[in-house]
């Protein structure tokens, strides 16, 4: 099937491949999604993976993959989610609910049943979408030929799965590959065990019937009647495989047998081996904890000094009984004595840092809610940012109080940007071709948040208190800007700067600060993950600062650069020179247009930090820069409020 332009097309019609060479931006993806969805009340927004969330009326896309995936694959994944919206919609959950509830009768968990329904329904919605949009074939092909799993199997904890995958997951992959191969014969289907291949053969016809169903009710009935019984046997096989994998001692492949290294500390080895074997850090995972606990019990058969503590899980529940010890194990443990147990106990109680490869921004924002609220709403004897900024913007702390009707015919509606003025829905104003907003709308304040991710702050794979604090500070700053609806730019830097979020990405429908109950936390997990993935080299903050100055200079209003760093600079003279340049430039600008740098120090090197950001040139202090040391996250609200208030008062 040819879907590209025919050879007769004049040169003005570009070949589709030409447009797909540059990666799509989030803005373009959201615009494409809107045109595909048209009047559907569903919107696309950044998330951790491609997903349709009916309850939130949202499609999420992973911005981090836009840069690395080919354009066709990105569009294909988006079209698949659009197909979910069009052909499953909110009814999908309702239709699936009955079968999911009856999962117990098949001895299958509801999550596994949901996975089966989702996986086959994916093929159904793809078929329906391709039927109405034959040209979408090239985009779907790009997805399925790459073997990209759009449905993430999360019914069993990832860390407990044996190598090679679980049989019922292999079955679903094989069904998907079979469907894709029927459309694109060039696809190479992965080899599967005989048991799985047999199940695919037995249910193939039923799956085809389910995929051919137009109605969801019919689809669910076919799957429940003809596919679920076979699938349940594979789930049982998966459970058995997990049990067998659990029974194996936890040991990494490249590690020699325990007996060959009697001097090695058991606790250290177990702690290192568990994450490698699981593929995750193991934090917060019940399954991961279970594996670690069992391993400890196995390794500590003789520890009379420690008593029953070592036979109990941290929750207080008794651990699984240890397997019979061999003589070799007893010898090894007696050689280790109580030292390993003691070290393990100390280390197991040491707080473990967050897993930045799977960072959960929303959870972090909830954890930091007290600090965020204190920053926004203030504390006794201290104004919050809401009041400080409202006073600066409108001269009153309650500018949105409904005014009296002044003119005949006045609707009484309030313009959120300028309470005394005009009213057109800002969301549609741009569609009229003219932006009907005041000149400095949303630009009273413009902040650039710069994040130091140099090697002195973070090294990938190692816990770092500085980085923990930097990320917490980032969360607080992001939440402040989002809740106060301030335009801001996020930029991380090491050897060079990288823009994580541009000013153009922070446009709000209005400036009215919503009540806390109405605020929904945006998931910026991808920003933190990207920061963690970026190279961590030298601290070349002058280069980054120069870029930040260039972008913030174009903004209107009070311009402030918020630098979060440990202050250990790789080129302090360059930084001082740049700050001096800013100082000189400020002297030629009106007070309201001057740029100021507020640095927040997250390290212990206070002298270094102050020398970098409160330098003196020829005995004269540079006024455009101020340094604030942050000893702990709890101190942030007071520090931020003071810094911003001081910034406003001196402007």
């Amino acid at each position: 099937m040819s879907v590209t332009a025919t050879p007769e097309a004049p040169p003005t019609a570009p070949e589709p491949a030409e447009a797909a060479t540059r990666p799509y931006t989030p803005g373009e993806i959201e615009a494409i999604a809107r045109l595909l969805l048209r009047d559907e009340p569903v919107r696309a927004q950044p998330g951790s993976w491609w997903r349709y969330i009916p309850a939130a009326r949202t499609i999420t896309y992973p911005p981090i993959f836009l840069q690395t995936w080919p354009g066709d694959r990105v569009v294909g994944a988006l079209m698949h989610e659009v197909a979910e919206v069009l052909f499953s919609g909110a009814d999908g959950l309702t239709a699936f609910a009955e079968v999911v509830r009856s999962a117990d009768s098949y001895r299958v968990t509801p999550a596994s049943v949901q996975l089966l329904l989702n996986a086959i329904n994916d093929l159904r919605v793809n078929r329906l979408y391709l039927g109405g949009h034959p040209g979408a074939d090239r985009y779907f092909r790009a997805v399925y030929l790459a073997g990209t799993p759009l449905e993430r199997p999360d019914d069993f904890p990832e860390e407990r799965r044996p190598a090679g995958g679980l049989p019922h997951h292999q079955y679903l992959d094989a069904l998907t590959a079979r469907w894709a191969k029927s459309l694109w014969p060039e696809l190479v289907a992965p080899a599967v065990p005989d048991e799985v291949a047999g199940a695919v053969r037995r249910t193939g016809a039923a799956v085809d019937r389910a995929v051919a169903c137009d109605s969801l009710a019919e689809f669910v009935a076919v799957v429940a009647r003809d596919v679920l019984p076979v699938y349940s046997t594979l789930v049982a096989a998966s459970r058995k495989a997990i049990a067998e994998a659990d029974a194996e001692p936890v040991r990494s492949e490249d590690e020699p047998p325990e007996e060959s290294e009697p001097e090695d500390l058991d606790g250290e080895r177990e702690r290192e081996a568990a994450p490698r074997a699981t593929g995750t850090s193991g934090t917060g995972s019940a399954a991961g904890r279970d594996m670690r606990d069992v391993a400890v019990v196995e390794g500590e058969p003789q520890a009379p000094e420690t008593g029953d503590v070592w036979r109990q899980k941290p929750t207080g529940q008794p651990a699984q009984p240890p397997r019979p010890d061999t003589g070799e194990q007893q010898d090894a443990s007696s050689r280790r004595g109580w030292t390993a147990a003691g070290i393990y106990r100390v280390r197991s109680r040491a707080p473990k840092g967050p897993d930045y490869e799977h960072y959960d921004y929303v959870a972090a924002a909830r954890r930091l809610e007290p600090q965020i609220r204190a920053t926004l709403e203030g504390r006794p004897g201290q104004l919050g940012l809401v009041e400080i900024l409202n006073l600066r913007r409108f001269g009153t702390s309650d500018p949105w109080r409904r005014p009296r009707r002044r003119l005949r015919g006045d609707s009484g509606e309030i313009d959120s940007d300028r309470p005394e003025n005009l009213v057109v829905d800002p969301a549609v104003a741009f569609l009229h071709g003219s932006l009907r907003r005041r000149d400095d709308s949303q630009k009273d304040f413009a902040n650039t948040v710069m994040l130091d991710i140099s090697g002195s702050v973070v090294q990938k794979g190692y816990a770092s208190r500085k980085f923990d604090m930097l990320v917490d500070t980032l969360v607080v700053f992001c939440e402040i800007h989002e809740r106060l609806k301030l335009p801001y730019e996020l930029l991380d830097f090491s050897d060079g700067p990288t823009v994580l979020r541009a000013f153009g990405d922070s446009v709000y429908a209005h400036q009215h600060v919503d009540p806390a109950s109405a605020y929904v936390i945006k998931d910026f997990s991808y920003l933190v993950r990207a920061m963690y993935e970026h190279p961590h080299g030298e601290t070349q903050e002058a280069r980054a600062l120069r870029q930040a100055l260039a972008s913030i200079s174009k903004q209107r209003g009070l311009k402030t650069i918020l630098m979060i760093t440990d202050g250990i600079s790789s080129d302090r003279p360059a930084l001082t020179r740049l700050l001096w340049e800013v100082e000189e430039r400020n002297s030629a600008l009106p007070v309201g247009e001057q740029i100021r740098v507020l640095a927040f120090g997250v390290g212990l090197a206070e002298d270094e930090f102050r020398a970098s950001y409160e330098p003196e040139v020829e005995g004269q202090a540079i006024r455009c820069s101020a340094a604030f040391l942050v000893p702990k996250v709890e101190a942030l609200p007071t520090i931020i409020c003071r810094a911003i208030e001081d910034r406003i008062r001196t402007a």
Partner: protein
């Protein structure tokens, strides 16, 4: 400007060019209709509220390019011998002279209708 309802416009195009598949005509008319409403600001604001500035701008440019008139659609239908040619001409008509942003946004949306 007021346009005929979507169904009437499809019927009009089908009458003028009966050799073109109705599904192809319907798909193009629905897209053009949505873009007209988008450009005129008459769509449900809830569906576009909260979009970033970049996507608002991309949508604005794309919708202006694709907001063809009924006369333009009729001309394309008349000049086309089959569905594939109609879609090719439609694509040229919309993308010719469009900005890169509009082109990148509209390209997959138009290509998905091709046969």
């Amino acid at each position: 400007m007021d346009y005929p309802p979507v169904d009437e416009e499809i019927a009009l195009l089908t009458a003028v060019a009966p050799r073109l598949p109705r599904g192809t005509l319907a798909g193009s008319v629905r897209l053009v209709d949505y873009c007209r409403r988008l450009a005129a600001g008459s769509i449900d604001p809830a569906t576009i509220a909260g979009l970033s500035h970049a996507s608002q701008e991309a949508l604005r440019q794309a919708s202006r390019r694709a907001a063809l008139s009924t006369a333009e659609l009729l001309a394309l239908a008349r000049a086309s011998s089959d569905g594939a040619e109609y879609l090719r001409l439609l694509r040229i008509g919309i993308l010719d002279g469009a900005s890169e942003t509009a082109r990148r946004v509209l390209e997959p949306v138009l290509l998905q209708h091709e046969v």
